[in-house]
Symmetry: D2
Subunit: 246 residues, 4 copies
């Protein structure tokens, strides 16, 4: 592996973000990006204790100035490093409500976190990924986390779906523009409940084992996507627990 | 046909909006909504001269206050009328540019016109459509105009696709919530160039006749969608010229 | 309407086939095709009594010789008539069974009725439809009936889905080849239970009214598809009852 | 890794089949299945020389008797082995022709190789895969090779699409039935030209490097799919060269 490569994960809190950070930190220094340091502090310690290198950056992906500043910090912290992988794993806020009880702000929150944030993140990372194309063993990669709502609009989930459809549209458009330039863009449709502390009380499937997605399993597939050679890029895949109805 | 029903078309300028207004005005008084009166003035005259009834309302669908005021005006102009059909035909602004030349405002423009506008329009029209369910011969209908970019993200069309994917997500979510309550929501994927004054100089297909979508043909299918009984609602259909590659 | 045009409906028994035959017989003489005369005899009488013209032809769409003979009969019965519309509405046999209880014959039955039958029917009708292009007010049309299983493979419905996916593939391929030559090919995804004598005892939705698709509503949309001008062909649409989950 | 596990690859000739066999032979004895021994003989030698174990079985997947006999041979050759992975990589015969020049046999060839073959292969392998669920470190897996034509019907490729759509329908239906029982079924949409001797003269993209799919890259992703834990099964993914338009 060429030296001097790093990865950045936006939405590097618990769950998928944390697991992806840990997985990628086996090979690269990783930048953990989240709005508040509390979100990434534990993961940062875990990586450091495991002998990896991690840098925490507090930033709001929906705010271009915050992103400007964040990538300035990254450049200072990791001078001469090229960007091997960027992961967009930000959860948008959203409301599960009958449509007529929603406020315009509910839609805006979803569009901001799901689409505007990815837009800003891609604008900052794409030049760095392009710059890394000649140096990387693996094609520089932008990985985007999607969900069931990325391909299915549901009653009461309309604003979530609006944001996630838009996120998928951006990922697909970026793939069509940048694949030929050697940057790999993949979108993962995560279909099911993720096994994180927040969902520990969920009882969806009774006594069935393993009915929730393990973040480590998702992270392993993200790593695989990153290592795909340019002759066989995956642009989209789904992932769901074996017992999940679909 | 029950008396005292009306239709409202947002984006009632030239092209599809004008043709839909003319078609629906054969049966209902129609409200023509556009940001500027110049956009709907000619269509209004056409309808009036043909013996129909039309009301012009200047409003910005992306602005909730403007929509509040617009629907207040409509109530004043058409007291005691129920809403039979609402058509969302607003074009979002968008830029055809390499991703790295885009500005965050380009994304916002697309999301605003495509998704936020529909959200606001649906919040104002859905209560009226629900209220009309018992009175209408045809199921009250919300028709939403989509495009190729509603289902396909393309290089340089990423912001357009983001908005149109989001619009489709909202339309689909609304259908899943309100179909069981008797309001019909349909999304039309218009795949091709529309034959309007603005596209008169396009020379895409050489001497081939009829290679552009006629707005009147689209309008006729919109009318058909409106008249579908509730035992057989179409939620989505495509329309394209016979020579259009797809 | 130009004189000397006719329509042919394969699978013209009860339900959609019968309703489409009745609807199209308002404008054209219709050929009712089914394996056994019992299937179309009542519809034939209905059309005749309503002042329309109908011809019954017993044929097996999965058998090329039978089709050869059927179209020879049609030519004899309706000399000098051009083909305005062909409707493929044949139900394939299929088994709802766990996969490991299925026999290869179950798959063959589904592929035969769903794909091979459409193939044979299209091979006989397409030359006639092409021949009618210059004479028709409406673009000559091939309408193909699909189902939920056309776009979704389900546990225990695998063989049904195999056939219906294949049918959709053929319809889509035919559209891409023959649209530019002026023949319109549309595929309708009928998503729900159809209200026919055979389903009269179904109790899926309790006391809810209109929870099944009315064949007459489907037929009306088929007629609309037939009348779409070539500037705005619909290639695919769905239809489902307002209370159907999707 | 538990001992006594094997893999079987149908369509184990050159290209994807050969590469998948080589990849899986690093972990499992592999059964190479093809109609003629010439197809798998070289791959068998390669595996043996690399220190792996391979068994060649001549069989026609479209013929149930041949499959019966093939799996009897496998049982004899590998007594006490459980089936860890089955790969269906059979190419159907197909014609690229205008629809009206096709023969019914052309459709049958495509349906046979694409759908009937998978049906027969799954009927023989699924009981073995189910039987291996408790013993395997990785979930027993059925991998199915698809193509662009699995999701897109094209002019002149109608019969190919009919078969490949049907194949995808079967794979999806099997996933919905057997995922909850612990067998993983994944369908790969291979979108592009594969770099095999047969395509060495193709000049699609001029001097562009790596414009064809490398079979080894596909095989690596197949192996990854096989290793996904049951909390995060991928049911479908695409793979295409970075310069492939899509």
């Amino acid at each position: 592996m060429a030296s001097k490569l790093f990865a950045v994960i936006a939405g590097a809190g618990t769950g998928t973000g944390r697991a992806v950070a840990l997985r990628f930190s086996k090979t690269y220094p990783v930048v953990l990006m989240a709005r508040r340091p509390e979100s990434y502090q534990d993961t940062l310690s875990e990586i450091t204790q495991a002998g990896g290198k991690a840098v925490g950056v507090s930033a709001d992906v929906t705010d271009t100035k915050s992103m400007e500043s964040a990538f300035h910090t990254i450049k200072t912290e990791l001078p001469d490093f090229k960007l091997a992988a960027a992961v967009y794993n930000v959860s948008s806020g959203y409301m599960i409500k009958p449509f007529l009880e929603l406020k315009p702000e509910d839609l805006d929150d979803s569009l901001s976190g799901s689409a505007r944030g990815l837009f800003n993140f891609a604008q900052k990372t794409m030049p760095l990924l392009l710059d890394a194309v000649p140096q990387s063993d693996y094609s520089p990669t932008l990985l985007v986390t999607g969900a069931t709502s990325s391909i299915r609009g549901s009653a009461k989930f309309g604003t979530l779906a609006a944001g996630m459809f838009a996120r998928r549209a951006l990922a697909q458009s970026l793939a069509r523009e940048f694949h030929p330039q050697g940057v790999h863009i993949a979108h993962a449709i995560i279909d099911g409940i993720i096994d994180v502390p927040r969902t520990s009380g969920y009882t969806g499937k009774g006594d069935v084992e393993d009915w929730k997605l393990k973040p480590e399993a998702i992270a392993e597939s993200y790593w695989h996507l990153h290592t795909q050679p340019r002759t066989a890029f995956t642009q989209e895949l789904d992932m769901r627990p074996y017992v999940e109805k679909f």
